[in-house]
């Protein structure tokens, strides 16, 4: 697959206990829909990220099923509660079985 896949995540460095924070994620991926054809008319096979999850200290925040109708370089923005100090784990699942992950620590303050 997909070369040069690079996840990027934006999480605030600090938050108050119980505060709701906005998390923005972006991963560079071509998200080939399986609908397009190449110059000789052959269908380019589907190759997308089909699932994204975000967990905080093992507790789930969001679990998204992505379909071919999601744009290239899938971008997701959502809200999470910060119950304590810890680490957000982000995981993207590719059609070809690859798994990309990223982690961000957050402090209380």
């Amino acid at each position: 697959m997909a070369s040069g896949v690079k996840p990027r995540v934006k999480v605030p460095k600090k938050a108050a206990v119980g505060e709701a924070i906005t998390i923005k994620t972006l991963i560079s991926h071509k998200m080939e829909s399986g609908q397009r054809k190449d110059k000789s008319g052959n269908i380019i096979p589907r190759s997308i990220i089909n699932r994204f999850t975000c967990d905080f200290n093992g507790e789930n925040v969001i679990d998204v099923t992505l379909e071919p109708a999601i744009s290239t370089n899938p971008y997701l923005e959502f809200q999470a509660t910060v119950p304590s100090e810890g680490e957000f784990k982000f995981t993207w699942y590719d059609d070809d079985g690859s798994v990309y992950d990223a982690a961000k620590k957050i402090a209380i303050g």
């Binding site: 709701a20 924070i21 829909s33 609908q35 397009r36 054809k37 967990d55 905080f56 507790e59 789930n60 925040v61 969001i62 679990d63 998204v64 099923t65 992505l66 379909e67 071919p68 109708a69 999601i70 744009s71 290239t72 899938p74 971008y75 997701l76 923005e77 959502f78 809200q79 999470a80 509660t81 119950p83």
Partner: protein, 138 residues
């Protein structure tokens, strides 16, 4: 303006096709909604879907969904070759049941969102988006 018999027939056939095509697209969407809700009734309200009225580029159309207390939200694009867009499932630590992303739209069409609310009922919202250049390639 006068029409010959041939033109009238062509017009009629075109009009018939126009009515059949959206119907077919809707049938696929209805099936998907039924699968998601398990056949339960879907009410309006309780779910907010934000999408632009006019999208110049169908390749990246920003959308946002928000439904207080929802456990899951499914987004469909009724006019796409494959209607499903995404399903958001919210976990315990989701501060608000809202999410935004960017989607592909093949042409001017309705974007539909269905939310499963905390009490197990379902809500629906839809919005028509005009697309200047479609986003499915050729």
């Amino acid at each position: 303006m006068e029409f010959t018999r041939r033109e009238t027939l062509a017009l009629g056939a075109g009009a018939a096709l126009m009515t059949v095509l959206p119907f077919r697209a809707n049938a696929a969407v209805d099936d998907l909604i039924n699968e998601f809700t398990g056949g339960a009734a879907v009410a309006d309200g309780g779910l907010e879907l934000t999408a632009p009225e006019i999208a110049e580029n169908g390749n990246t159309v920003p959308i946002a969904v928000s439904a207080e207390g929802a456990t899951a939200i499914m987004v469909l694009a009724a006019g796409n070759p494959t209607p499903p867009v995404a399903t958001f499932k919210f976990g315990k630590l989701a501060a608000a049941q809202e999410a935004s992303t960017r989607i592909r739209l093949a042409g001017t069409q309705d974007v539909v969102a269905i939310a499963q609310l905390a009490d197990g009922s379902f809500a629906r919202a839809s919005k028509t988006v005009k697309v200047t250049i479609g986003g499915c390639g050729g």
